[in-house]
């Protein structure tokens, strides 16, 4: 059985075990997201400054939270943090490559349908969005957000490998991430003159070809980078 076939089998196995809960949570998150998306027009009119950060949270975090508690990263023995599935699969004759691929497939299953619904909801729920986008620029826009989903969102899948962390390290990392996110969030509008979603709409309209190519490159880079990163993390972590 090659890596991808086996990874697909493992992913299907885990998804099947939590499918009912997963679908219920998915329905709940879609409903919440669509209510939130009703304010998309207000954002495009420049009257909802916090929309970007909320959209990014919904876009990246909801898929990560969709998995059952048993499958999410958690504190194990001592200073070990990991997804229990990672520990279970490493005790079986399954290569690390396959384990990594199966985690990415599961993350893709949890994220892509949900994220596509968000992206499809945009033209349906916003007159301003429909007016700004042509069919081509919209396709490029969707492609770019899926690329962002892989490049940034797959960090969530890679993080399931966990690590040996002390509480101080976790708190410090959390503070650094918050500072970095706040810096990007505050600096971005100053540099680009618009919010992040507006900016991605603008480049999809103004440079569709360049943006499309960049999106594909970003997808490939993100896909490869996080797999390598996850394999490295698994190799260096002590699952004791």
């Amino acid at each position: 059985m090659n890596d991808w076939n086996q990874a697909y089998r493992l992913a299907a196995f885990e998804i099947k075990a939590s499918l009912r809960n997963l679908l219920l949570i998915l329905a709940f998150y879609i409903a919440m997201s669509l209510i939130f998306m009703m304010s998309f027009d207000v954002y495009l009119e420049g009257d909802f400054k916090g929309f970007d950060i909320m959209f990014l949270l919904v876009f990246f975090m909801f898929p990560a939270w969709m998995k059952g508690k048993e499958f999410q990263m958690q504190k194990m023995d001592g200073n070990l943090w990991s997804s229990p599935s990672i520990i279970m699969l490493q005790q079986l004759p399954i290569s690390r490559n396959t384990i990594v691929k199966s985690r990415f497939l599961i993350h893709a299953f949890c994220s892509f349908p949900f994220q596509l619904i968000l992206l499809i909801a945009m033209p349906l729920m916003s007159d301003n969005f429909r007016e700004a986008m042509t069919p081509v620029s919209y396709a490029v826009f969707v492609l770019m957000w899926l690329a962002i989903s892989i490049a940034v969102g797959f960090m969530m899948a890679a993080s399931e490998a966990g690590g040996n962390f002390r509480m101080k390290e976790i708190v410090l990392s959390f503070i650094y991430i918050l500072i970095a996110a706040a810096a990007v969030y505050l600096l971005f509008p100053m540099l680009s003159g618009s919010g992040f979603i507006e900016w991605t709409m603008a480049i999809a309209v103004d440079w569709p070809l360049l943006t499309g190519v960049a999106a594909v490159l970003l997808m490939i880079a993100g896909w490869k980078y996080w797999q390598v990163d996850m394999r490295k993390t698994m190799k260096k972590t002590d699952y004791l």
Binding site: R9, L10, F13, K16, A17, S18, G68, E70, F71, M76, G78, N79, S83, P84, S85, I86, I87, M88, L89, Q90, Q91, L92, P93, I94, S95, R96, K235, K236, D238, Y239, L240
Partner: protein
């Protein structure tokens, strides 16, 4: 004989606990029990063999392949059953069987069904909802039918009731007899040691105390009831209490007693757990 598993000078620092240096060779056709106090590093050692953690120094090879190398195919020859399986809680017994069975070329469905019936295990309940004893029975039923060359079991009978414990020990003996195989297990259960182990690998506070052939170990220790206890230390003396003396150098002790005309009222070989307690004291 070429060992199937070979640990050479393995060292690992785990917070303030130091495991090693440990050197150990596991040969085919043998059952080796890792025995030691709680926290002596037995489970950690098993996880190092499974490459679940990185060694600081040393080398572990399974069938000649370093476990921390790029080639992970050695895992096909090894079944590892941790004391508490992690990541199984969301799955039923049927789910777990469907996950595990296709991964092993020699998976034995007949043995699996037999164990499920013998041990009366419900396959339709989630693993996390089962009692610790039933969880252990299910884990064993998912381990033995893999028919790998090597079986690594961490406390395999700790939660079992007495009838199940006897049944599992019989199944393990039967499993060993089918082909050339090897088992490594950790246990605190004297009856498991007596019935299953060929070799004992004793550990204390992360250090290896010794690797012993079980029968030689028990025959090497004896308790003597003496007519009088000499004031000075007797050659081979391990402990004394009243007129009882325990020795691990029988010939030297008996020669000394004969030379000093001290009569032996009675003598008896030590029980295995007494020997282990002495060595781990």
């Amino acid at each position: 004989m070429i060992p199937w598993i070979e640990l050479t000078q393995v060292n690992k620092q785990i917070d303030d606990f130091r495991l090693g240096p440990v050197s150990l060779a596991i040969e085919p056709g043998t059952i080796t029990a890792l025995v030691g106090n709680n926290g002596s590093g037995k489970s950690s050692l098993l996880k190092l063999i499974m490459n679940m953690a990185n060694m600081d120094e040393g080398n572990i090879q399974v069938f000649g392949e370093p476990v921390d190398g790029e080639d992970e195919s050695w895992k096909r020859h090894v079944t590892f059953l941790p004391q508490t399986p992690v990541g199984w809680n969301a799955y039923t017994g049927n789910d777990l069987k469907n996950l595990i069975a296709p991964l092993y070329a020699k998976w034995d469905d007949v043995l699996f069904e037999r164990m499920i019936q013998l041990l009366d295990i419900p396959l339709d309940k989630r693993f996390g909802k089962l009692s610790p004893g039933v969880q252990q029975k299910l884990s064993l039923s998912l381990a033995l039918p893999r028919h790998t060359d090597i079986l690594i079991l961490d406390e395999p009978t700790a939660s079992l009731d007495i009838p199940s414990k006897n049944l599992v020990m019989d199944l393990l003996v039967d499993w060993m007899e089918r082909e050339d195989r090897a088992i490594i297990l950790t246990t605190h259960q004297p009856e498991s040691l007596r019935k299953l182990a060929d070799y004992l690998f004793l550990m204390k506070d992360g250090q290896a105390i010794g690797h012993y052939e079980k029968d030689q170990l028990t025959s090497g220790f004896r308790r003597y009831w003496l007519e009088e206890m000499p004031a000075e230390a007797v050659p081979g003396e391990r402990s004394r209490s009243g007129r009882q003396l325990v020795s691990d150098h029988l010939e030297a002790t008996e020669n000394y007693l004969a030379d000093h005309r001290i009569g032996i009222v009675d003598n008896k070989a030590l029980e295995l757990e007494e020997v282990i307690s002495l060595l781990l004291a």
